[in-house]
Symmetry: C2
Subunit: 451 residues, 2 copies
């Protein structure tokens, strides 16, 4: 049995819906379908989830909401029309639910936002189920609550109630039926709507795949594969046919927008493979993400990711290394300002601390510098804002001695300096730091060296 | 003005004393001479300091001590004889002081050991001064206390009283005189003898060089230079003519037995250059260790050091990196068992912790593993005992892009895997980890690639 999730671009128009219907029909194992809200139909279009946010804003402001509601409804009508269902009762139901949204009392603004924004998925799942029923398919809309999926925590950053897996596993699954489930939205035990963090349809799909013990979690999106490098940097990079969970995690850390990490924890815990596929090219094999795969000895590198969201702090003091507990002191200073670090490579009396740049305001940097001077008294303290990280990832890299030297010699030939190299902590990747203005060039040089 | 220190092998025999006299005479700037105890005359010989330790042991045990005392005295007599001074009053003085040692009351065994063992240097300085006076040189023995050098702390691990620098600087220095000062031994304010940690003659010399504002600190030993790699591994490695303090520190961290780090802090703080020279080959320029030197663009690498005193612990847990504060938890576990770490390179969800192997008993490892499983719950936890570190050090390395790629490609050609590479934290070196059984081979490969 396969749990299949379709992203927003796969469900943005009637024509896209038709592709989804064809995909579901083509494989009898596709039995649980997790649905996103309608996404952008064209560049510059607005996603239904964002329209719903505006609707929520206006509701809170006590503004006139008829217009935005009509805009939202029109998106669903347009899809229904493609299937000549514009007069079907589903459209009336959708309208009633949209109207109802701003007539209810919510315990907090966060509850209100969660309910409004989660309706993008909810209504889209209802619409898909109605279309399939109209075509005689044994599809039924099922709410996450009916399946046993309940959440706790903040309404807009819901966390799965761990009891859910047991409940989902108990769900009476009819062998001939097709379940259409909204992603993103879920309910607390006292019946309030809540949403996972953005991109949360992936989470719903992963939870259901694990709870229902699926053989495969298919994630349909709008690319035919995950590519071995950013196509905006490297032209026509090789698609990745297979990768391990760990490779995926390392690549997405450094800029591969594959999944939110959280999203796939449930399937990883259950060792269920994930197949990333393209709704617009369903014959393409896509990318399999799995617990293990055979190492391709021809090509030990799986992918090259890059990210310029980092900044670094360099510290040096003679005999620093002999001072027991200095790392602890540094971590305590960072904790004072609620700053977490990413990596901390150390030399003999040197230390480079790598941060996510987003955390560092000029003020926080000044405070940290001040405290470090007071407590550690470094001979040198430099903030390096110009810091990009390139991750070269592959389960086979440790076994292939020559790969790393190919990379460094090609970078040297291109005249690109490497202010940081970190290999060995992670056994499947090498992390290198480069100046931001050489990042794209370095990615191309590395790509050409290893692929 | 130069402060000159002679090591134990430079003062082991009368013939060696003659070389020392010639060196002092050859340069009028050599005005303060710091003296070690007589060292080994041949392989298997016993240093006077070790004889004195036996003398102390026997004194504490209440054993018969005439024999060991005679053995010690014979070492000084042998030297005196070389200069036909066997009947000089200095020998009687040395004998009286040796006898006196075990007739005094000491506040503790540590005070006793410090007094006994420090006499190796004390008596040797007196002997050298007497020989020079006999030859008509204006030399006088000066006790560290007379110079203003006082210490505090434990008798066998004395620390300099920071007031000393001021006191030493006030010392009335006669332009024509030559001061002969014992290394290693010093006195507390209440007059008790104390010693620096072993190798402490270097410390005495460095303190005097700083206190007297010397232009140069000459350190005479038994090698003509510091070599760019271990001569036991690489045959006839290049001598290093110049290196910076930082290069020296990084090389000695990873196995270069140049100085005890502590020993040269005083001269580093005062920016006084150090010249390591050979008593047996005083014409050789030796190695200059200085605050800065011009980078040789032909050869950006200064030296290659290697050490197999390390062990590593590898940890992996999916999403470890997202858990704020996990490093703190790990450091707290290590602190519980009083274990300090050397380096902690981190991957995405991985961390390698590198330790000095000497700290790790099987029992401590078991405790640390137990606590890590309980608190961090890693998916993987591996102890890697087979871990050697090679440091490639050079102030010019950052500017010379190709150096690193030369190293990695030559190692790859030799089929040597690199489980760890850490570059960038220290701006003047690259640290690589290799399996212990490939260490020597890797050093040779790197040496041939860069020299």
């Amino acid at each position: 049995m396969k749990v299949v999730k379709f992203g927003g671009s796969s469900l943005a128009t009637g024509a896209q819906f038709q592709k989804v219907l064809d995909i579901i029909t083509a494989d009898n194992d596709r039995r649980v379908v997790v649905v996103s809200a309608p996404g952008k139909r064209f560049d510059g279009d607005i996603k239904v989830t964002d329209l719903l946010k505006t609707y929520a804003d206006q509701t809170i402001a006590g503004a006139y909401t008829d217009e935005i509601m009509t805009t939202i409804l029109a998106r669903y009508q347009e899809i229904a029309q493609h299937f000549s269902l514009e007069d079907n009762k589903i459209i009336l139901q959708i309208k009633q639910q949209l109207v109802h949204l701003n007539r209810v009392h919510y315990p907090s603004f966060n509850h209100l936002y969660a309910a409004f924004m989660g309706h993008g998925e909810l209504l889209n799942a209802q619409l898909l189920a109605a279309i399939m029923q109209e075509k005689g398919m044994p599809a039924s809309f099922v709410s996450p609550a009916e399946l046993g999926l309940t959440v706790t925590g903040s309404p807009r950053a819901a966390r799965l109630d761990p009891e859910s897996y047991h409940a989902i596993n108990q769900y009476q699954f009819d062998d001939t039926s097709l379940l259409i489930v909204p992603g993103f939205i879920a309910y607390t035990n006292d019946g309030y709507a809540a949403t996972f963090s953005r991109g949360g349809s992936d989470i719903t799909g992963a939870i259901l795949a694990r709870g229902l013990q699926a053989d495969l979690y298919e994630n349909f999106t709008d690319v035919s594969a995950i590519y071995s490098a950013n196509p905006k940097i490297v032209s026509h990079p090789q698609p990745i046919s297979k990768m391990t969970y760990r490779e995926m995690r390392e690549l997405s850390y450094a800029g591969f927008a594959v999944f939110h990490d959280e999203a796939i924890i449930p399937v990883i815990e259950a060792n269920i493979p994930i197949n990333v596929k393209n709704t617009n090219d369903p014959q393409a094999p896509g990318t399999m993400i799995m617990p293990n795969h055979e190492i391709d000895s021809e090509n030990p590198v799986t992918g090259i990711a890059n990210d310029n969201r980092f900044a670094a702090l360099y510290l040096h003091r003679y005999l620093l290394n002999r001072e027991v507990g200095f790392t602890l002191k540094i971590l305590q200073i960072l904790a004072t300002y609620n700053v977490s670090y990413e990596h901390m490579p150390s030399g003999i009396d040197d230390m480079t601390i790598i941060f996510d740049k987003a955390q560092l305001t000029p003020e926080i940097k000044a405070h940290i510098s001040h405290d470090l001077y007071a407590i550690i008294a470094p001979d040198e303290l430099d903030w390096l804002d110009d810091y990009a990280i390139i991750m070269i990832v592959g389960e086979g890299m440790q076994q292939h001695i020559g790969t790393f030297s190919k990379i460094t010699s090609s970078l040297a030939e291109a005249g690109i300096n490497l202010p940081m190299i970190n290999q060995g902590a992670s056994q499947i990747s090498t992390m290198i730091g480069v100046p931001v203005d050489r990042m794209n060039e370095a990615v191309r040089v590395i790509y050409n060296a290893v692929f």
